[in-house]
Assembly symmetry: C2
Homo-oligomer: 342 residues x 2
């Protein structure tokens, strides 16, 4: 009998490693392939960055509480975020969708309004795509292309011992927004008469439904002459992402719980839902902030930007990957990021 | 009440036109966007071509008769074909898939074997992708990137009056292969004991399950110094494609039924299934041959290549789009290509 290995037994990253293990590049222009936020292709002086994401109704989004306009916007943002995470500038996108006949042209118009709003805000062009029918649900596949000056690419694997670990914005909000919307959905399904009260949770809901990509941080790096040693975007939660950087750079790290930026509104929401705000920042996903490491000598440049928090530093591999809690205890960081196969 | 327009009422191409009607490009590097086989992006001396396709189980393929290895191969080919249709050379692809837990790692290995076989044969690199779960079925999204020398791009809209209309290879075979497999599937579902006999239909089944992209034709153009005026690949059937070229070039055309290349095996299969071979060539899809128009002065160069058939010529728009049958009658060409929303 043929062997059968369950995909859940090796996980998403294991699966990607498994499927790409024997493949060798043939094109001289291929600079970076599978395994980073985006691939890099050389084009005679400038480099092209390419990244792609597939989003499926019921797996990646829930149309009960996701307005189509926000969905269009967010679908673009998650791809642009991957381009910025390479220290590149997104320039074009393609958008492919598949829909069942439950969607009208007006519904798609709403979705594309969001797509175009994101294109407009981030200065990218929609240059192609594919439209077809699905048997069930809404399926979105977006590819983003970006430009990069050679020598400016920032990979996950470039962190150095002693690097300062930084992140942009604040963390955990998107996860709390999702928790809130899931809770309201449950209440609504049990009793459609109850009107949800979004007032106190506006911030976290906004973080979840309509995230932004950190174009400003990439611009700040360029203005200040900062070239991070390593970088990625935080889509699966801080702990999962810092472990990627540690693993791919062959290093360990120390994070400080008290340094992890969490918005007041997120903290408030976490307490209301009886969750630990730090756990939300570490394990919640979809914040689309940037996580990066820089040389200590660039430290003083950072004080100019209050959107950047220093949250730890890189260590030698033997020291492991630790988080120092507010109480002063050191714990191992474990990946509890989002896993589509769980 | 909000207006509701059914997508089926405007069709796939109407939908794309509708959704992209108000969008203006912001990037100087965007050369060609939505509406051709692929988009074109300028990169300081060379140009990049990008195209993407979304394939969904139950809509675009049926796993009852499609081996996963062939599916992987074909998924790549349909994208490479779009790159060649711009007169460009594919260089990289990204492959995103979503799968339900009914698929094992071994099943995915088979799919990727096909992907890698196509990459290997056509010299392209797999540089990225995304892997996630689906609620139902297998979903594949592939994006292909290619290189192009500026000035060499061939669009759908460039046909000129008097141009010779040509196509590569032979047509209708893939459609007949699908008809055969659908018939065998029906027999199998009614009586699983009956062993299907593929012997006589090997050619058409191969055309459907494992098509190739016409890299050779693009190489021939380069070698002979031929620059077609217009070109596209035949994925939806000859009639649908020639109407695209006519519409986008603002011209009419005349095709000659007797000139349309149909393989002997396809003709044989058509008669067996009581179908008109010409109708299969005109309205069947998925042959992935190239349809192009060239200047009359390049006509004599074509005799060197027996893979190219001259099938008609471009006319002024007022003459309409006609096909002259073997009996000498002229009929209007109507689009009966594949429409995912039908």
């Amino acid at each position: 009998m043929a062997e059968r290995t369950e995909i859940s037994s090796i996980g998403e990253f294991g699966l990607i490693e498994h499927l790409t293990r024997n493949f060798e590049w043939q094109q001289a222009s291929t600079v970076i392939g599978v395994g980073d936020d985006a691939a890099v292709i050389d084009h005679f002086g400038k480099q092209t960055v390419i990244t792609t994401d597939l989003m499926i109704e019921g797996v990646h989004f829930d149309l009960i509480y996701t307005p189509l306009r926000h969905l269009g916007y967010k679908s673009v943002i998650v791809n642009l975020s991957d381009v910025y995470a390479m220290n590149a500038t997104p320039t074009q996108i393609t958008v492919s969708i598949a829909i069942s006949n439950r969607f009208s042209v007006e519904a798609l118009d709403e979705f594309y309004e969001g797509v175009y709003a994101a294109c407009d805000k981030y200065g990218v062009d929609l240059v192609g795509g594919d439209t077809s029918s699905s048997q069930k649900g809404f399926i979105i596949s977006i590819t983003a292309i970006g430009e990069l000056n050679p020598g400016k690419v920032v990979r996950r694997s470039g962190a150095q011992k002693g690097d300062i670990i930084c992140c942009s914005g604040d963390l955990g909000g998107a996860y709390l927004g999702q928790i809130f919307l899931e809770r309201e959905k449950k209440i609504f399904l049990e009793n459609p008469q109850v009107k949800p009260d979004f007032e106190g949770e506006k911030y976290v809901i906004g973080r979840f439904l309509r995230p932004e990509a950190r174009k400003d941080i990439i611009g700040f790096f360029a203005d200040e002459g900062i070239l991070p040693h390593s970088m990625m975007d935080i889509s699966d939660g801080l702990s999962s992402e810092i472990l990627h950087i540690c693993k791919q750079s062959g290093l360990g790290c120390v994070l400080y719980e008290e340094k992890i930026p969490i918005a007041e509104d997120s903290r408030h929401a976490a307490f209301k839902f009886e969750l630990d705000p730090t756990a939300c920042a570490l394990s919640g996903g979809e914040d689309y902030e940037l996580l990066f490491t820089i040389s200590q000598k660039d430290h003083e440049k950072l004080v100019l930007n209050e959107q950047i928090s220093v949250i730890g530093h890189m260590e030698e591999a033997e020291k492991g990957c630790k988080i120092i809690t507010k109480g002063g205890n050191a714990f191992d960081i474990t990946a509890q990021g989002w896993n589509a196969f769980r």
